[in-house]
């Protein structure tokens, strides 16, 4: 018997809300949105933790410029703070080595992090999800009960089909969908047109920001960028 599952609810019991940022497709901006929302919520006075569950290509540590931090061991694993938010990522343990993980490894590593991380009192735990509709999505559903899902879409035809699958899946299971953020909007094209029929909220759209790349690695610059400020408005709507 695996003892880890039995402790999960206790580990998360001081976490007020869990928001899983998803969408199914890669490269739509899930990680940047997770980070920028978390930073904004923290600046609004909330206690925020971020969990990077894109285990084979984690991004949050890069976005936050979190270079030389490492968790402490104290009756569990204490996530270090960076730019005012707690960050838990497998990057502390894999460093920069290639470390291919198959599905059961992903589930096991996720469960290990969830069973041993001591979050403390947290208002928002933001989970950055990997692309794909697979192990991590299923594991969050079974292991992080009470999660709310925030869906990131964009106007590309290549994104729509997968986003619809994710919405259908969450709807089938009666799981709470916070809404859709349409990222990288340019011109008239929009995916929201085709998503509005699913009866979920529209949280806002973000244009393509040419200078966003400069803010990666610098949380203050990210917050004060057009992207960061726009997500400040969206964050205010989530409270």
């Amino acid at each position: 018997m695996d003892p880890r599952v039995s402790i999960l609810d206790r580990r998360l019991c001081e976490v007020r809300r869990i928001i899983a940022v998803t969408g199914g497709k890669g490269g739509v901006g899930k990680s940047l949105i997770t980070a920028a929302l978390g930073l904004n919520l923290s600046r609004l006075g909330f206690r925020v933790a971020l969990l990077d569950l894109d285990l084979t290509s984690p991004s949050l540590h890069i976005i936050l410029g979190a270079d030389d931090i490492f968790p402490e061991e104290e009756k569990g694993i204490i996530p270090p703070e960076v730019a005012g938010v707690k960050l838990m990522s497998i990057i502390y343990f894999t460093a920069r080595n290639p470390s291919p993980l198959r599905g059961p490894d992903i589930s096991n590593a996720t469960l290990e992090l969830l069973a041993n991380t001591i979050w403390g009192e947290v208002d928002f735990l933001m989970v950055d999800m990997p692309p794909g509709v697979g192990d991590v999505m299923m594991d969050i559903i079974r292991w992080m009960r009470g999660s709310e899902f925030l869906i990131v879409s964009n106007p590309s035809k290549l994104v729509l089909e997968t986003v619809i699958k994710v919405i259908k899946l969450l709807t089938e299971l009666d799981l709470p969908i916070l809404g859709v953020i349409e990222n990288m909007k340019r011109g008239e094209r929009s995916s929201w047109e085709k998503l509005s029929g699913f009866g979920i909220p529209f949280l806002g759209e973000l244009p393509y920001f040419e200078d966003l790349e400069d803010a990666i690695g610098d949380p203050e610059m990210l917050l004060s960028s057009g992207f960061g400020r726009r997500l400040g408005e969206i964050a205010a709507g989530l409270i």
Binding site: M1, D2, P3, R4, V5, S6, I7, R10, P71, E73, E74, K75, G76, I77, I90, Y92, F93, T94, A95, N97, P98, S99, P100, L101, R102, D105, I106, N108, A109, E112, L113, A115, N116, I118
Partner: protein, 147 residues
């Protein structure tokens, strides 16, 4: 220590299992400790005994806790080779990372015969509960085993 949080998980899981099985007392708990996770056995055992009364229950206060080591054996999916974790040498940081999260062994270990990182862990990953023994109904006191 991380040993402490794993001990909490074990205690919580034993309480859950005892409730499912309708036990009134847990008398013995066999905990298997996989070599890959490199738990410090004394710390872990100490934590388990400290925590026996945790989570409001007296149900396992008197339980005897037995730890059993299990060798970590890895098998390559590419070439089929099997080897023991205890037979390879890593540096200290690498051992520590694997202690925190055994799956990151895929960052530091390669198949000794074909260099592949595509291996499975056959045995000895981390902490599992092999079985618990307990009694139902104070008066009768007969022991039964629950895997």
């Amino acid at each position: 220590m991380h040993e402490w949080s794993m001990a909490e998980a074990v205690i919580a899981a034993v309480i859950d299992e005892a409730e499912r099985e309708g036990l009134d007392k847990v008398t013995e708990i066999m905990v298997r400790v996989g070599g890959l996770q490199q738990m410090e056995n004394e710390v872990f055992e100490f934590a388990l005994n400290e925590l026996k009364g945790a989570y409001g229950g007296s149900i396992l206060e008197d339980a005897r806790i037995i730890l059993e080591r299990e060798d970590a054996v890895l098998r390559c999916r590419f070439c089929g080779n099997e080897w023991k974790f205890s037979g390879i040498r890593l540096c200290e940081d690498e051992y520590e990372a694997i202690h925190f999260c055994p799956e990151v062994s895929h960052a530091y270990i390669r198949c000794p015969s074909c260099k592949s990182p595509d291996f499975d862990l056959l045995t000895g990953r981390g902490v599992s509960i092999a079985w618990i023994k307990g009694v139902k109904g104070e008066e009768d006191g007969s022991e039964s085993e629950h895997p």
